[in-house]
């Protein structure tokens, strides 16, 4: 029993994140929360706001994961699991956003001209501006047959 206890104690000394460090981490996280709020009140472009908010949130998440969730001292295998899941999240986000940003180049500029129609069409799940863009491009028999083929 004595050897088990001393062995456990030795392991703890290696893995320890003491209460002081936890409280300090909490204070930093609260500070960053107010920083996020502060940045949102500063006059910047929407994309800058988004970038600032995401950067601060990422720092906060890293702090929570490393200190509160003990990945700083944790086993390497757990780090691989968590980092991999985030890599897949970023992959998914990157490809979906790349698609959304490039597929219908005119869709965004067309939305304001058809607000009433668009709101009524939303429950049917029609992507915004899709119908008008298609009409604009379906100037050949190939295009219209392709569209019929999809339906």
């Amino acid at each position: 029993m004595a050897t088990t206890t001393s062995h456990a104690a030795a392991t703890h000394a290696k893995h320890e994140t003491g209460p002081g460090r936890l409280v300090l981490n909490w204070l930093v996280l609260c500070g960053l929360t107010f920083a996020t709020f502060g940045f949102s009140q500063v006059h910047m472009s929407p994309s800058m706001h988004l970038a600032a908010a995401l950067s601060i949130s990422t720092v906060k998440v890293v702090l929570v994961v490393l200190i509160f969730m003990h990945l700083w001292h944790g086993e390497g295998i757990n780090r691989i699991v968590f980092v991999t899941s985030f890599v897949f999240l970023l992959l998914l986000m990157f490809f979906v956003m790349a698609d959304a940003a490039t597929r219908f180049p005119l869709s965004n500029s067309r939305i304001p001209s058809m607000p009433v129609v668009d709101q009524k069409m939303m429950p049917t799940g029609m992507p915004p501006g899709m119908s008008s863009v298609r009409q604009g491009h379906s100037d050949g028999p190939g295009a219209s047959s392709g569209e019929a083929g999809k339906k």
Binding site: I56, V64, F68, N78, L89, M97, A101, M122, P128
Partner: protein, 223 residues
């Protein structure tokens, strides 16, 4: 799960750890496997919320004005209060883990109780916000009837809003249940330096709930 009644109280003031399953060499080995399993599960949770975040960014790309207008109608003080509540509850959970790991079961119990209370406070504030949205008609899809959002895409914002915060609130409820369960086991003095995996794993789940909110808060309320 072994019942705690069958386990003896040690001289240090905590119950002896449950018997080691035969396919593990050491208790530490067992604890590591439990922790690894939890991390794998958290990985799938990240991917679950990934869908919601991808939806947010896609719809925000299509309806930037509606998203900005709608964000202005959410209460920033309530959102900030909820963020601080969750961060503080994460601290108490981390401290509870520390105490359980050192065999201070009663301390861990009170800290977990504080975390569950803060979780309930979070849900209370969320309920106030939801009630307001229902009265305004700021609702998803065809239920939308909120006149103050003039840009197209208002109903879409509230689809994202209700689905993301709703799924998150569901996780808060599950997390509170898990914390209550381990708090009861702390009260029974079940945890010790060699056996504290349930506190740690319930805590990991709670921290994940906090992580999701750390991203939701600025994206919904501030940007």
């Amino acid at each position: 799960m072994q019942s705690s009644a069958a386990r003896k109280m040690t001289a240090e003031g905590w119950l002896e750890p449950p018997p080691l399953p035969h396919h593990y060499d050491t208790l530490e080995n067992h604890q590591g496997a439990l922790r690894f399993g939890m991390w794998l599960f958290l990985g799938t949770e990240v991917l679950l919320f990934a869908g919601i975040f991808v939806g947010y960014f896609t719809f925000r790309h299509y309806f930037p004005e509606a998203f900005e207008q709608s964000a202005r109608h959410l209460s920033v003080p309530l959102g900030t209060a909820n963020t601080l509540l969750l961060l503080t509850s994460s601290l108490t959970v981390a401290l509870a883990h520390y105490n359980a790991e050192h065999g201070k079961n009663r301390n861990a119990f009170w800290l977990l109780l504080a975390s569950v209370t803060m979780g309930a406070g979070f849900l209370g504030i969320k309920a106030v916000e939801y009630t307001e949205k229902f009265h305004e008609g700021a609702l998803p899809g065809k239920f939308f009837s909120f006149n103050e959002i003039t840009a197209p895409g208002g109903p879409v914002f509230y689809v994202v809003y209700f689905f993301s915060t709703g799924l998150h609130a569901l996780h808060v409820i599950v997390g509170m249940s898990l914390l209550t369960w381990v708090a009861i086991r702390c009260w029974r003095k079940e945890f010790s330096p060699t056996y504290y995996a349930p506190v740690e794993n319930a805590g990991l789940y709670w921290h994940l709930v906090d992580l999701v909110w750390i991203f939701l808060y600025p994206l919904l309320y501030l940007v």
